[in-house]
């Protein structure tokens, strides 16, 4: 078991050889929380990595940042056409394009974050092998770079909604807490999958299929009402389903999101983040050897 103790600028790491000694869960939780607080002193690094990511990603592309909007917009166009022409009767949703775009832009954030986070530690192997810093900085900065795109897309989303005939309403003020729950969920999953991918590269390969499955399992292009009754509750246990439904309630319908669903999403996102962070930091010390 490895114990790390810090005092000022002095660090001591020692190993007790007996494998039976396990940390008390409470102590483990305290240490993990302390480590999370330590991240604050690395905010400059996170900021620089986010800036690096944003600068590099669109360096040689003509549309640049617009892609994070064009993508969901194209998808909205395609899905609107498909559903309103081909499955005219199957889409019971009023103002389908508005319904779609409010689901697609949050989904786009989730999708691109996870796709890029899963390989992030492996891609930065040179850094991991040669320099010391808290390893969780890597996936966190990848997610935050995508989060910046997401935040920038929200005002644009409001304008698009106005074009589609949905006027902004005061409930929009409920967006920030919803966005934070969403961010927490994405961070938690990213930490987990980027850690697993260091040991089993299968994670990166499986990501495509898993994300596609999640896309269909989440009410993005359909309403959860169309599901069979027995399936509605389990489907909404998916935190992203609850989050996207809440986005729609706030942005389109101007009403309070369902309390049970939202609290459920908060609880499960927090749980996922805690698990993701604990797993990540538990194995981060061997990344330099495994990556």
């Amino acid at each position: 078991m490895i114990t790390t103790k810090r005092k000022g600028d002095a660090v001591t790491v020692w190993v007790t050889s007996d494998r039976q000694t396990r940390r008390h869960p409470l102590r483990f939780a305290l240490e993990t929380a302390g480590r999370l607080a330590d991240l604050w002193s690395y905010r400059e690094l996170i900021r620089n990595l986010v800036v690096r990511d944003l600068k590099v990603r669109y360096k040689n592309s003509a549309f640049g940042f617009a892609w994070s909007l064009l993508n969901p917009l194209f998808m909205m166009g395609v899905l609107s056409v498909v559903f309103s022409l081909v499955f005219e009767r199957a889409s019971p949703v009023e103002n389908f394009p508005a319904f779609l775009v409010t689901g697609l832009i949050p989904w786009n954030f989730t999708n691109t974050s996870l796709t890029r986070a899963v390989n992030s530690v492996v891609e930065n192997s040179r850094l991991v092998k040669k320099v010391f810093f808290p390893r969780e900085v890597i996936p966190i900065s990848v997610v935050l770079a995508n989060f910046v795109h997401f935040l920038l897309a929200i005002p644009v989303l409001l304008i698009i909604l106005m074009f589609l005939g949905v006027m902004p309403n005061p409930k929009v003020l409920l967006l920030p807490p919803l966005i934070l729950i969403h961010l927490e969920l994405v961070l938690g999953i990213s930490l987990f999958i980027s850690c697993v991918n260091v040991f089993y590269r299968d994670m990166g390969v499986a990501m495509d299929v898993l994300l596609q499955g999640w896309f269909f399992a989440t009410p993005i292009f359909y309403h959860h009402w169309i599901l069979p009754l027995w399936l509605q509750k389990p489907a909404m246990a998916n935190p992203l389903a609850a989050i996207i439904t809440a986005y729609r309630d706030v942005l389109i319908y101007g009403r309070f999101p369902d309390r049970n669903f939202t609290v459920g999403a908060l609880v499960s996102s927090t749980l996922i983040f805690a698990i993701g962070y604990a797993v990540y930091t538990r194995y981060a010390s061997v990344f330099a050897e495994e990556v």
Partner: protein
Amino acid sequence: MTTVVELAHTSKQYRLSHEKARSFQEIWLGLFKGKHAAKTVEKFWALRDVSLQIKRGESVALIGPNGAGKSTALKIIARIIDPSQGMVHVQGRMSALIELGAGFHHDLTGRENIFLNGSILGFNRQEMQARFDEIVSFAELEHFIDTELKRWSVGMVMRLGFSIATSVNPDILITDEILAVGDESFQRKCLRRINTFREAGGTILFVSHDMHAVRDLCERTIWLDHGTLQMDGRTEEVVTRYLASGQDQEMSLAQQTVEV
């Protein structure tokens, strides 16, 4: 004098995975064939029960043939890897030149990379801003600093890496065979800078196969072989004994090229 680096009975074990199952598929195939994956994993001690103390202001060289555990020791001290047994204690800000420019991004300009690399080493924007001109002028890169790194030569990138890592005024400077930076005049400049750092009271931990540089820079030398500590003492004695043991062919080659 305070001890700034200490290893106590420190060991590091690596797993040599000859045919280690890396994916679920391989594990399943292994089960199917009745082969147990763990069988193919060989344990290997890269460092075995090494104890050493380095006091503030000392400059210490780590020597030994390839595979002696020098880099493993440096990585443990730099906290990149954890030991398998024993203890490591480090006090003060470290700048580890395990690899120059490890955090550089080649699509960013020299200027952007200076700030990025600074924050990787744990220095904030103001601290880097204060040293910016000095970093650039030491690396002699005034003309290229706003160009993307991918258009630079390898030597230029190394020069910038060295310049950043030594300009940040760390308490402890850890270097792994990095003096092969740029041309001869720049190498001399690097040595001068390390000397200045030493004279200012900085602690240096220096891995090299170049015995000339070791003799020039360090009063104390630690000789590692097969992961164990062979000798720890004054550079002159240790280097003489080490050379007499004649087991480092690569070193003698390096010696020849320097002397020619």
